[in-house]
């Protein structure tokens, strides 16, 4: 729902920070409660702002349950995200949206699902994990392959046990083992052979740094997954979120309104990878 009493798409509405849950160094989850109910889908994003700091796109990190709550998982990356990190419970934050197309859940209906995430890229996939947990019949086996730079940078660590308990297979790897880490080390793209799903029949949802997305998409394709079922969400500089400011324009598409979710087929045919 795009709520704006004035019909002006640039007018944000206020929400209250209910709780801040630190996830890793420079990454926190902000649970925001608004007055009117919110209706958003996995893969969509809000333009999030503070007056005087500015506005940035942030993906929804929770599943919309017809209430007035949204989780935003934010990494401190610069001016605006830095200001957002100063928010405490009870503070007001401004939102407009939701925007973007969201993940095409039809693509994975009845199929095994491989979720591939790197770093904070797990946040936009968390609503999908919640969806598959709450709707176990919707897909077959669901496996999360997650890579972080170091054990200290793993996000949603506290929730992973619960995900496992509710039927999601979770495989975590780190680039650098530290502090008594006994799990896997190495790149997330090194985990394909541990998968128990037939990749040719499965659907993949990928989010992370662009280098990781690029590698994961290419490798899954070579392993036989059709390009329409290799799905990612892309990031680009955005100032408006509604297809006007021109910043996220790539190929003939706007990442904000035509995306941010695209299949490997679209990424290739429109040349959507930003770093060329």
């Amino acid at each position: 729902m795009t709520r704006s009493s004035s019909g002006n798409v640039y007018v944000p509405f206020g929400g209250k920070v209910e709780v801040v849950i630190p996830q890793a160094r420079d990454i926190s989850l902000f649970r925001v409660k608004t007055e009117a109910p919110l209706d958003y889908a996995p893969g969509q994003f809000f333009m999030v702002s503070l007056w005087g700091a500015g506005e940035v796109p942030i993906s929804v990190a929770s599943l919309s349950r017809d209430d007035a709550v949204v989780d935003l998982c934010i990494r401190r990356a610069g001016a605006v995200t830095g200001a957002l990190h100063a928010l405490e419970a009870g503070d007001t934050v401004w939102l407009r949206g939701p925007y973007g197309n969201g993940f095409p859940l039809d693509t994975s209906r009845g199929r095994d699902v491989v979720l591939v995430a790197g770093g904070i890229g797990l946040a936009p996939l968390r609503p999908l994990i919640e969806w598959f947990m709450e709707n176990p019949g919707d897909a077959g086996r669901v496996t999360l392959l997650y890579g972080a730079k170091s054990p200290g940078e793993i996000v949603f660590r506290d929730e992973m046990e619960q995900w496992r308990d509710r039927g999601i297979e979770v495989l975590v790897t780190v680039d650098r083992a530290e502090g008594g880490w006994e799990g896997r080390t190495g790149l997330v793209t090194g985990l394909w052979q541990e998968l128990r799903s037939d990749l040719q029949q499965a659907t993949a949802y990928i989010c992370g740094p662009e280098v990781m997305i690029r590698a994961a998409m290419g490798e899954l394709f070579l392993l036989g997954m059709p390009e329409e079922r290799i799905i990612t969400t892309l990031e680009a500089h955005m100032k408006c979120g509604v297809g006007k400011c021109g910043h996220c324009y790539a190929g003939p598409r706007y990442i904000c309104t035509d995306g941010p979710v695209f299949s490997y087929r679209e990424v290739k045919s429109y040349g959507l990878f930003l770093s060329r």
């Binding site: 004035s6 007018v11 206020g14 007001t92 910043h247 324009y249």
Partner: protein, 372 residues
Amino acid sequence: MKREWILEKNHISYWLRQLRKDRDLVGPLRNEGKDVVFMTVEQIHEVVLDLPASLPSPKEFLFPQYESMLRFNVSGKVPVAGPGAKTVSPGACVECSREGDLLDLADRRRRLVFGVRSCDVSAVRLLDRFFLEGFRDPYYEQRRKNILFVSIVCNNPDPTCFCIGLGTGPYLEEGFDIQLTDLGDRYFVQASSAEGIRTVKDMSFLFRRPRKADLDDQYEVFLSAKARFHKRISLESSRRAILEGRVKDSFWRRVTERCFECGGCVYECPLCTCFTVADRRYPDAVERIRLWDTCLFKGFTRMAGGILPNGKRMLRTKRWFYHKLVHYPEVFDEFGCVGCGRCAVTCPGRIDMATIATEMKGLDLDGSEQRP
């Protein structure tokens, strides 16, 4: 629907004076540097009537270089104009919270822009589609709803003009508000939009019915205008050259070597629409503003962490031309160029639409330049 009249030239100042009564009159005026530019008219006699074909684009009045969008009053009191605050018509309070009031600063002032060219009217038709299809841009929409254009048929196009190949000038058959053709001692007046027709009819005593001689004279102006074009440019063949893969990156690299990255082309082009958004702080309020931005600038696509998707200059030049020549037709079925030639007047590096289209014509099938 199109209606036609005749207006004697010695009635024009009176007409403009009447039109100004209930709206701002914007017209071509000579500034201190003696350049003719569009400005709000204070003295009717200063309006330049023998204007050159190419003036700065009037897009400024629909999509200004700097625009205040929203104002958030921290104190919750009536806004006080801070330093640099523009006089915008006061907006309604759209949202209230304990922290303060949020004002929508959309400019709803009524304007009449006199003396624009057919290419500009054609550009506005495309801007309408860009800003109002999909999500509606409320700032453009409010200005657009309140603006009326009086365009003048080009009887003496500049050497840089190439609207004729695109059907966007030198005169229009439809889709304008009011169109004037200069017949020497009188104007042939045509009105096409409902608002245009109403505006003429409001002062019908100034106008008379056209006679056969008037129609003949207008036809002659149209014919001689068409004959005066220096440039015959086919953007369709450029588009095809790109789609057929004849325009290689080496071409864009060569072109880009001439670019000074001044952004002049983008600011002058009536169809360039990119902007950035920023918050300006005042002691008691914050204004969210937007400013023209340029895809040709290096920082345009910069992302957090310093990633620069279009870091290579060549990619930015290519993006500008692809947008206008390939993507615009794909989305809107029209080129993102109306042939106004302003980029040619502005660019110190001869990287303008007509020159580039001409250079593409000289490319061989394998992308190499043909030797004369």
